[in-house]
């Protein structure tokens, strides 16, 4: 979702504006804040002001920040659940198939489908696939790996992984207007407001 937005800012209904800013090569307007509380406050204000296409950047997770910029649907847990179910069914199915169908082998007269003996492997396969889907799903939904992103064009953004707190209103927001966004962000007591080149 996010990746496609960064690469092609055109959305239905905003076509004229998007093309204009695309020619100008503007990704958005970014403000830096002194700490997480100010960033959180600014994000809430920006959302209340009607901005939707924006993102907040912080060097560590900040409680409530994602919700403040309007992030609601976190699909990581359903993906992990699906991965786990797939792993569990796959693991048990494999054990069943091996010992009942592919290579039936009588061990001390036990039934071919001696299912309690399959539980450890079923469990391990569940955990394995659930964990892999947690990692792959999380990175994929985040649009990573993504070596290039316009926000890295802002020199000070290197601080976002140390102690910088940034809010970026993106140019493809329907309400976006270059000067208006700058004025708005400047009202929020930022350290500095910069334009983000694409």
């Amino acid at each position: 979702m996010h990746m496609s937005r960064a690469r092609s800012p055109r959305r239905p209904g905003t076509k004229v504006m998007a093309t204009y800013w695309e020619q100008r090569g503007l990704y958005g307007v970014m403000a830096e804040f002194a700490d997480s509380d100010q960033l959180l406050h600014a994000a809430r204000r920006a959302y209340a002001a009607g901005y939707r296409r924006m993102d907040a950047y912080s060097p560590m997770p900040v409680d409530g920040l994602a919700e403040a910029i309007g992030f609601r649907r976190n699909f990581v847990s359903p993906v992990v659940l699906l991965g786990g179910l797939l792993g569990g069914c796959g693991g048990f199915g494999l054990m069943y198939w091996i010992s009942v169908i592919a290579y039936p082998f009588n061990v001390a007269g036990r039934p071919m489908n001696s299912w309690p003996a399959y539980i450890p492997i079923t469990f391990e396969c569940t955990v394995l696939l659930a964990s892999l889907s947690a990692m792959i799903g999380m990175f994929a939904m985040n649009g990573l790996p993504m070596p290039y992103h316009p926000v890295f064009n802002v020199a000070k953004f290197a601080r976002a992984s140390t102690d910088g707190f940034f809010l970026c209103i993106e140019a493809d927001d329907p309400k976006f207007d270059r000067e208006g966004a700058k004025v708005f962000l400047n009202e929020l007591n930022p350290i500095e407001v910069t334009e983000v080149e694409k």
């Binding site: 560590m60 010992s99 947690a134 890295f152």
Partner: protein, 478 residues
Amino acid sequence: MKSDQFEEPTSLAVIDPGPDKIIGPGHSYASVTDKISGIIFQPLKKTPKVWFLAFLVSFALMQLLLIAATWLFVKGVGIWGIIIPVAWGFAIVNFVWWIGIGHAGTLISAILLLLKQDWRTSINRFSEAMTLFAVSCAAMFPILHLGRPWLFYWLMPYPNTMWVWPQPRSPLVWDVFAVSTYATVSLVFWFVGLVPDLATMRDKAKTKWQQMIFGMFALGWRGSARHWSRYQMAYILLGGLATPLVVSVHTVVSFDFAVAILPGWHTTIFPPYFVAGAIYSGFAMVLTLMIPVRRWFHLEDLITMRHVEACAKVMLGTGLIVAYGYLMEAFMAWYSGDVYERFMYWNRMTGPYGWSYVMLILCNIAIPQLLWIRSIRLNVFWVWMLSLVVNVGMWLERFVIVITSLHRDFLPSSWGIYYPTRWDWATFIGTIGFFLTMMWLFVRFLPAISIFEVREVLHHEGGGHAHEPSPQPAPAGD
């Protein structure tokens, strides 16, 4: 491009805040970042001399492993001391010892995450790396022990021209799945935890190569709020998945023994007491490695006495569970009335390997009771010595379980005596060399303390806001 914006690493005094705090005074987001990344970015010449010495010794020991493994491939398992009643020998003793050591890493990173123990933060990355390398060492032994190690992939279920499949009713096949899942999930957990820190390293790197390497593995992480939200969900779920996994792995390892009908192995107490023993030995190894590392790299303000004491307490607690396990084993041997069980236990205590049992009780139960004394828990030297004692003790436990149970079973005609050869020792010491080599490389070249989680602790404590607006804003764009 981005290099001049950062001041030189802060010269904050290294103060251990004592057993109550997990971070030394005066730290901000920037100072913890500088401090931890400074270990990696310092010039090679500035690396503490003792690191080079430790690395050289470990690297030399690792060569023993290469030599021993090569000779094993040439000559076969006959170069080891294994004989027919004791066919498992050192290989399985070392396998269980190493995999147990790995368990503390998962416990610290996963279980303490779920329990919201903030003291896990400075040591989780380090312990996770320890898990990875310990599991690598563990996995070598069953494979080297196979006789034809190059056919190890026969353990995995795959369609083959022989039309045979692994036997899913066997604990040994469970073990293959448990250990390989454990290694994979540990790697996933470790890597997911590393990504935001790799982004920090990428942004702080001064040279092109560093930027490229860290940048590649950082996957383009930029700290977006949406990303953090998914990240935290994935991380906590990984913690929730790793927690039952770590319990299952050592349970399955104990099934290797407990499912057999051999006296001394066939007991129901094995799974819980193996898991407790694994955590016991793992915490001992964490302390053995953490105490020198914190001294070499002057990390006393991030790995404080709080961490040392907490690890010592966990060691004491799990040690008592292990003691209960020994007690119950002995009690059940007597109470069962089974002549073979009784003989086995008597033989374990007074037979040819009685010395190992006495040493085991001393190292695992008697001596660690010193940890009840607070002044000993707060003395780094004594905690370190005790951690070494427990490492030896836990190795002896596996030696006692494997060797004494096997060497005299039901029929006196099949009894035997097992002596490890120099190749057994070379392989074992070689894996220690491999493990330490990897650990020393890790602490020097990757962030050994999770930077973003330390920032998070500062954030929740309300600190870290030492960030001053820079007087001259940089121009927009670059």
